[in-house]
Symmetry: C2
Subunit: 338 residues, 2 copies
């Protein structure tokens, strides 16, 4: 079962300069982590993909033809830059918010590490870079978000996917506003979503995240959307669901996804995020709330929800934002009363 941090929220279109800086920092000073990390970068266009490849490949000792994620070409982790001291109860092993942790999809790694009390801690060698491409389910949102029609945005994606796949880089497609659009309302055609999703997969995308950007999604609409996706021949394993908890329905909708065989869900620690094109939109569903729910249903995520709650409180404080995870706050309150 995969839980993905919403890297795209941090590295938004408005922040490409910062995104490049983040990329260079991660390549130069990959954080140590107990499991391999997938870093997900939003690529807005072909030029962005070229810049991304140049940065990644110039950091590789094998030069620009090296497969970036290959364990056969390890990049020795240099000395990490100074980091903030860990909070009470933290072990300093949290993933940064720009990472995606998904133990199910990462190659296993037990590289040599400098901290003997953390078995299985990975080096940068087994980390993975992936790129994200955004499309939208409505013409109005596509125009506002990418300044082109849906068809044009798909045609822009095609050479990017080809280039990424030629370098063994994983590609994740997104279909925004799949369950409600701030411009066109809540009745988004599920068959249109299925058509866009199928097109992205046919191009070579490894996975498509179908996104309820506005949080307008409901249980019946989620059910209807999944039915349309499956009817278009798309397998659950090629899909992720991405819910925003704007109307408080994210977990109800996620359970519908689970019941339909979906095993990858996007979320954001502390409920961080939002959408500049969707007024009033809050962040993705909080990772802590989702993990608590999945665990309660008997799911295995590989995530320590208490540690995740600590991360949520820490990052919210660092960013000066309220911690928007209910489970996170409740778990911390329970821990503090022990």
């Amino acid at each position: 079962m995969g839980i993905r941090a919403a890297a795209n929220k941090v590295l938004s279109l408005q922040q490409m300069a910062n995104s490049a800086e983040v990329l260079n920092d991660l390549l130069g000073y990959p954080p140590l982590a107990p499991v391999p990390i997938a870093y997900n970068f939003l690529v807005p266009n072909f030029k962005g993909m070229q810049n991304f490849l140049n940065a990644v490949e110039s950091s590789s000792p094998e030069g620009d033809s090296a497969p970036i994620t290959s364990p056969e070409n390890p990049t020795a982790p240099p000395t990490p830059p100074p980091s903030p001291p860990p909070e009470k109860g933290e072990t300093g092993e949290q993933a940064p918010i720009t990472s995606t942790e998904d133990p199910n999809e990462m190659p296993s790694s037990t590289s040599d590490v400098d901290d003997p009390v953390q078995p299985g801690k990975s080096s940068a060698a087994s980390n993975q870079m992936e790129v994200s491409l955004f499309t939208a389910a409505t013409e109005a949102f596509s125009k506002a978000n990418t300044n082109c029609s849906i068809a044009e945005s798909l045609e822009r994606c095609r050479p990017i996917v080809s280039l990424a796949k030629s370098r063994n880089i994983r590609v994740r497609g997104y279909v925004s506003v799949a369950l409600g659009c701030p411009y066109e309302g809540s009745d988004v055609d599920p068959h249109k979503v299925a058509e866009i999703t199928a097109t992205l997969l046919e191009m070579g995308a490894d996975e498509v995240s179908v996104a309820d950007t506005t949080g307008m999604g409901t249980a019946p609409k989620t059910q209807e959307l999944l039915k349309a996706l499956f009817a278009a021949g798309i397998a659950p394993k090629d899909l992720a669901l991405h819910f925003h908890d704007t109307y408080g329905q994210a977990l109800v909708n996620a359970v519908v996804g689970l019941e339909n065989g979906i095993r990858t869900f996007d979320s954001s620690v502390g409920g961080l995020g939002g959408c500049p094109y969707s007024k009033g939109a809050t962040g993705n569903v909080a990772t802590e709330d989702l993990v608590h729910c999945l665990h309660s249903l008997g799911g295995h995520t590989g995530i320590d929800v208490e540690k995740m709650a600590e991360i949520g409180a820490w990052i919210s404080k660092e960013l000066g934002r309220p911690n928007d995870s209910r489970a996170g706050k409740a778990i911390l309150a329970r821990l503090s009363s022990k």
Copy 2:
């Protein structure tokens, strides 16, 4: 389908002086409302029940033998006291947070009103008083909350129920910490909950609200609890479910209740509330979030969710508390952008 405001949260044990004042105000100056209102009062002991009856019956023109809720004994509504000016978009017809609106259970009423544009507006005559009695599913919580054992608390309830029923007053029982206890943990025996619930119903309680006071409830635990309740011979119509959204699971759990035939759910506008005996406990699930969910599933509640969102924002502001309803805030953001 019934949605109940969490009157008990406002009229808590700590505030019995205020509770009496609220009662006297409501009896003296019943607010006009488009539908009959049920006022729910927490009665902690037999003396409390006597005080309640004295107040209610002394306000009745027929004296102390008058059935309080009988439409044949109308109390003409006197001039209401000064109230705050309505907010933008309000019509001044919101129910106060101490009310319970449940159109399914109220006698219909089309009494004469002073506002011809509000058809069916009720006077105080068709309003209803009901009393609430609290029990708990664990010995430790019972001790902390009512200073007696579960068995003792049930024996204290018996004469109160008898007195209430002798005066045609509706009785609502509560079983607190039915899905998790701050003292005894998350493994509360569902058979114990069923036994307490059955005892309250056998005494004459009209309905029992089974309460997830701590928010520790999960979908599987809710399912297991309902199974135990039904196995004890309790009908869905005699039950209400009362979820706190402390861990963000309230709607997921409510959907499990719905699927099992439960049609009455407690909630609190703006997610107001908490529990003095349950550290970190947040309020009941927000009415706006619950109603949005129920409507999305095709339910009919009789509630205008946009008006409810306005009430949530208004009362939160009045109380100086954050508005804890996700749907409420999202609906208001959407309305303000129109």
